[in-house]
Amino acid sequence: MADAPNRPLSPHLQVYRPQITSVLSIMHRATGIVLSLGTVFLVLWLMAAASGPEAFELAQACAGSWLGYLFLFGFSVCLFYHLLNGIRHLFWDAGHGFELGTVTRTGWAVILGTIGLTAVAWVLGLTVTGAM
């Protein structure tokens, strides 16, 4: 934007009180970026697995470290959020759910659903792997 006017441009985000609509909207983009980075690690993990047992064990040790678990936890939160809010977006694309009350309710449903799905996935996952 070389010809951008030399004055403040709208929207003036800094003067707005954060609202559930705007916060969830930017969260969708932020979680999308995190998932993109996570996908790079998923491909690296697959490449390590395809390289043989030694590289696979190293990748598993990285994923199984506390830092690996922290990344996996963050990745899972972003995944469930982007999945649920993405479904919310698809309903909007089909022309449904634009009423102000509905937007707020589905927004909170996405937040609660993200917490719920993350909790269920980790409890089940840790039980299956025998860590819990």
Partner: protein, 117 residues
């Protein structure tokens, strides 16, 4: 259809439409991945390669990698368009995004096929 109806990029609504198509396809694929992750998490090399011998595992993983990376490319492309206003940098990032996405797709799919073979 005249070019005027296709907008400045001359691709019409295909970006928007492909983003939604891949979004719908990713719903079952992501549920599959979430179901698969616990068995991948603590798996030994032997357990994991055995899992990859069941056809549905590599099939779903290749679909997930392909669809997910295309969805990712479309999304990150818009983020670059929105926030990067330096023209040479913008073009450079878009080229890097496309080449990087293609590399990840090939690397991921070849790895999956090697593990399943």
């Amino acid at each position: 259809m005249s070019n005027r109806k296709l907008g400045p990029s001359k691709t019409g609504t295909s970006h928007w439409w492909h983003q939604r198509l891949t979004a719908v396809a990713l719903i079952p694929l992501i549920i599959f991945l979430v179901g698969l992750l616990p068995s991948m998490a603590g798996a030994s090399y032997r357990e994991f390669t055995e899992l990859m011998q069941i056809p549905i595992t590599p099939i779903a993983l290749i679909l997930l990698i392909g669809t997910g990376l295309y969805h990712m490319k479309l999304g990150v492309q818009v983020v670059i368009e929105d926030y990067v206003h330096n023209e040479p940098l913008k073009v450079g990032l878009q080229i890097a995004l496309l080449l990087g996405t293609v590399f990840l797709a090939v690397a991921g799919i070849v790895s999956i096929i090697m593990l399943a073979a």
